[in-house]
C-alpha cells in the first residue's frame, strides 16, 4: 500500500527500494524477534502457548487471504470454507490412511488450492461485489458438503485427529506444536513478502490497482486471478491442516461464514495489502476475544455482565472494524509506520 514515507527516507536504486530489510537494524530486529520467539516455550505456560499457536495458524490463513484480497484485490467471503477444506483433507488423510503431517499438510494445501481454483472461475467475468457473492456461494456449498459427505467428513460429529508424529518425533505437546506452527508461519510470511517482489506479485498489484489497465499492458488477467486464488487457498489449506492436527476435533461449525468474516477483519484491521499488517491483524483478532474474556471476568465480580459476553464480543468486534475503516483505513500497519516515523525524527519531527 502507498504508505507515506518519513522525511529523509530516500533510496538510490530499485534494489534498495525493493529490499525486505531497509536497514541493518530492521534485519537485526527481526532476527532478535525470532530468537526470542524460539525461547518462548521455555517460559510461557500452556494457555499462552495455546493462544500463540492459534495466532500462528491464523497468521498463515491471513497471509493467504491477503494475497488474494490485499495484493490482487479479489474479495473472498469463502476463506473460512477453504480453510475447512484443508482441515478435512488433513483430517481424512490422517484418520483414514494414517498419513503423517509431512504428507497431509501439503496435500491439504493442494486440495484447498484445487477447490479455490474451481470457485475462482467466476472471477474471469465478475469482480467486486459479484465476486464476493460467488465466494459466499462457495462458502455455503462447501459447508453443505462438509455436513453431507458424512462417510468422509463424519457429518455433524466431524472427525477426531490423533496427535501426529513428524519424522519419527511425536508432536504431542503445545510446545512442540509451537515450533511446528511457528516454522510454517515464518515460511508463509517470508513467502508472501517475497511474492510481492516478484513479477507475479507485480502483476497481482497491477490487477488490484486497475484490472483493465493491467489487461492492456499484457497481464493475463484470468491466469493471474486464478493463480491468486490457488495460492491464497493453498495457504488456507495449510492453515486448515495445522488447525486439524492442533485442535484435534474438526466439525462443520468451525468453518462457517463467520470465520470468513474474521479473516477479512484480520487483513483489514491489519492493513490491506501489507504483509506486516496481516501479521498484526491475525494476532489482534485472535487475541481479542481472549482479552475481552479476561477483562469481563475481571470486571464480572463488580458488574453483572458475565452473561452478555457473546453480545459484547459481537458489538466490540463490529465497532472495531467500523472504527478502523473510518479512522485508520490502512490499519495497524499504518499506525506502526507512523510510530516508527515519529521516533525516527524525534525530537525534530515536523
Amino acid at each position: 500500500m502507498a504508505l507515506t514515507r518519513p522525511c529523509g527516507d530516500f533510496k538510490r536504486s530499485w534494489e534498495a527500494d525493493e529490499a525486505v530489510f531497509t536497514t541493518r537494524f530492521s534485519r537485526a530486529a527481526l532476527t532478535a524477534f525470532l530468537v526470542v520467539l524460539a525461547f518462548v516455550p521455555l517460559v510461557a505456560g500452556d494457555f499462552w502457548l495455546y493462544l500463540l499457536n492459534l495466532c500462528g495458524i491464523a497468521l498463515v490463513g491471513a497471509q493467504g487471504l491477503n494475497i488474494l484480497t490485499g495484493f490482487t484485490g479479489q474479495i473472498s467471503l469463502g476463506h473460512g470454507a477453504f480453510i475447512g477444506v484443508g482441515a478435512y483433507t488433513a483430517g481424512i488423510l490422517a484418520t483414514k490412511l494414517g498419513a503423517g503431517p509431512a504428507v497431509a499438510l501439503p496435500a491439504a494445501g493442494v486440495a484447498a488450492a484445487l477447490v479455490g481454483l474451481l470457485f475462482g472461475l467466476p472471477s474471469l467475468r465478475i469482480k467486486g461485489f459479484y465476486l464476493a457473492m460467488a465466494t459466499l456461494a462457495a462458502q455455503f456449498i462447501l459447508e453443505y458438503l462438509f455436513m453431507q459427505a458424512a462417510p468422509l467428513t463424519g457429518g455433524a460429529q466431524g472427525l477426531y485427529v490423533e496427535r501426529p508424529a513428524l519424522f519419527g518425533l511425536a508432536i504431542d505437546s503445545d510446545a512442540k506444536f509451537f515450533y511446528l506452527i511457528m516454522a510454517v508461519a515464518a515460511l508463509a510470511t517470508a513467502g508472501a513478502r517475497n511474492l510481492l517482489r516478484t513479477d507475479v506479485g507485480r502483476c497481482f498489484v497491477a490487477i488490484r490497482d486497475r484490472d483493465i489497465a493491467a489487461d492492456l499492458i499484457g497481464v493475463n488477467l484470468f491466469a493471474y486471478k486464478q493463480l491468486a486464488f490457488a495460492l491464497s487457498s493453498f495457504y488456507a489449506g495449510i492453515a486448515g491442516g495445522l488447525l486439524a492436527y492442533y485442535v484435534q476435533a474438526i466439525n462443520p461449525q468451525a468453518f462457517t461464514v463467520l470465520l470468513s468474516v474474521d479473516y477479512l477483519a484480520m487483513i483489514i484491521i491489519g492493513g490491506l495489502g501489507s504483509v506486516l499488517g496481516a501479521t498484526f491483524g491475525a494476532v489482534f483478532i485472535t487475541l481479542l476475544p481472549e482479552v475481552l474474556k479476561l477483562t469481563i471476568d475481571a470486571a464480572g465480580s463488580y458488574l453483572p455482565i458475565e452473561n452478555i459476553f457473546p453480545a459484547l464480543r459481537e458489538i466490540i468486534f463490529g465497532l472495531l472494524i467500523v472504527l478502523f475503516l473510518l479512522r485508520e483505513p490502512e490499519g495497524l500497519a499504518k499506525l506502526w509506520w507512523d510510530i516508527k516515523a515519529y521516533w525516527k525524527l524525534w525530537p525534530f519531527a515536523y
Binding site: 484480497t69 484485490g73 474479495i75 472461475l121 467466476p122 467475468r125 465478475i126 467486486g128 461485489f129 459479484y130 464476493a132 457473492m133 460467488a134 459466499l136 456461494a137 462457495a138 455455503f140 456449498i141 459447508e143 453443505y144 455436513m147 453431507q148 486497475r210 483493465i212 489497465a213 492492456l216 461464514v257 468474516v261 477479512l264 477483519a265 483489514i268 490491506l272 452478555i308 457473546p310 453480545a311 459484547l312 464480543r313 459481537e314 458489538i315 466490540i316 468486534f317 463490529g318 465497532l319 472495531l320 472494524i321 467500523v322 475503516l325 473510518l326 483505513p329
Partner: protein, 294 residues
C-alpha cells in the same frame, strides 16, 4: 400434483417476504451503490422493536406498528449519517466490511437487550385464509403477500410521480449530474437508508407473525443475495420477481431433492443458482448491464 402446487404456493408466500427485504437492499444499492450486509440485522432489530412495543409495553398494534416504523427510520438515518456517509467513494471491500461491522453491532445490541432466547410473537394480524388450487395458505403468509404487493405498488408510484422519487432516481443514475442540478444527494442517501430500514422492520414483523423470533432472524439477510443477483442488483421489479422465484425454488428443492440427498438442500440451492447466474448473466434478469471504460 397437489404436493407440487402446495410447494409452489407456500414458496410464493415465503418469497414475498424475501422480496420485501430485498426491496430495501435494492433501494440502498440503487441510490448509493452501497452493498448492505446488515439488511438481515435491520430485520432483526425491526422484529424485536415491534415485539418490545407489543408484548413488553403492551401497546395495541395500531400504535405499536407505526412506532416500530418510526424507530426503524431513525435507526436508518443514524446509521447512514454515522457510518456510511464517511465511506462514500471508498473501495467496495471497505464498504462491505463497514456494513459487516454494522451487522455485528446491531446483532450484539439486540442480543444484549433481549437475550438469546426464543420469543413468541403476538398474533397481530386479523385471521385471514384463502384456498388456492385446493391449497390452504396460512394467514401470515397471505398478509406477507399483500404487504409486499402494496409496497411494490407504493414504490413504483413513488419513483414515478413524487418529487423525492424522481430525485432519488436522478441521484442513482448519475451522482455528479444530480449534484450539478442542485439535488441534495446526501439527503437522498439518508432517505434511502431510512426507507430500507422501515421496509426491513415490516419484513421482521411479518416473519415474527409466521414464527417465533430469535437471534438467528438476521440470517435472512443472506437469503437476500441470491434474490437480488437473480433479479438484478438495481431493479425493484427484479427484487420482487427474484424473491418469488427464490422462494419457489427453495421450497421445490426442499420438497423434491431433499428426500434423495439429505437435509440442507433447501438452504444451499439458492446459492447454487446464484453461482450459475453469476457465470451466465451477472447483471441478473432486470439489472443494468455495466460497461466499464478505462
Amino acid at each position: 400434483m397437489r404436493f407440487f402446487l402446495q410447494l409452489v404456493v407456500t414458496g410464493i408466500a415465503v418469497g414475498s417476504i424475501y422480496a420485501l427485504i430485498a426491496l430495501g437492499f435494492v433501494l440502498i444499492y440503487k441510490s448509493t451503490r452501497i452493498i448492505n450486509f446488515a439488511q438481515g440485522e435491520l430485520v432483526l432489530i425491526g422484529a424485536f422493536t415491534a415485539f418490545a412495543f407489543l408484548s413488553q409495553a403492551g401497546l395495541p398494534p395500531a400504535l405499536a406498528l407505526p412506532l416500530t416504523v418510526v424507530v426503524a427510520v431513525v435507526l436508518g438515518f443514524t446509521v447512514e449519517r454515522l457510518l456510511l456517509r464517511p465511506m462514500l467513494g471508498e473501495p467496495v471491500i471497505a464498504v462491505i466490511m463497514v456494513t459487516l461491522g454494522l451487522a455485528g453491532i446491531l446483532k450484539g445490541s439486540a442480543r444484549a437487550i433481549w437475550g438469546s432466547v426464543n420469543r413468541p410473537f403476538p398474533d397481530i394480524f386479523p385471521a385471514l385464509s384463502l384456498r388456492l388450487f385446493d391449497v390452504a395458505i396460512p394467514g401470515p403468509f397471505l398478509w406477507g403477500c399483500l404487504i409486499a404487493g402494496a409496497c411494490l405498488v407504493a414504490f413504483t408510484l413513488f419513483f414515478r410521480f413524487s418529487t423525492w422519487g424522481v430525485t432519488m432516481r436522478a441521484a442513482a443514475n448519475h451522482q455528479a449530474a444530480a449534484l450539478s442540478i442542485g439535488i441534495d444527494v446526501r439527503r437522498v442517501f439518508a432517505l434511502s437508508w431510512a426507507i430500507a430500514a422501515a421496509v426491513a422492520a415490516l419484513g421482521g414483523v411479518l416473519l415474527g407473525a409466521i414464527n417465533v423470533i430469535d437471534m438467528n432472524l438476521g440470517a435472512i439477510g443472506l437469503k437476500v443475495f441470491p434474490v437480488v443477483i437473480l433479479g438484478g442488483l438495481d431493479s425493484i421489479p427484479g427484487a420482487i420477481l427474484g424473491g418469488l422465484l427464490i422462494g419457489i425454488l427453495e421450497n421445490l428443492s426442499g420438497g423434491f431433492i431433499e428426500p434423495w440427498v439429505g437435509g440442507g438442500v433447501k438452504a444451499v440451492a439458492p446459492f447454487v443458482v446464484l453461482l450459475l447466474i453469476l457465470l451466465v448473466r451477472p447483471y441478473g434478469l432486470f439489472g443494468t448491464r455495466e460497461i466499464e471504460r478505462l
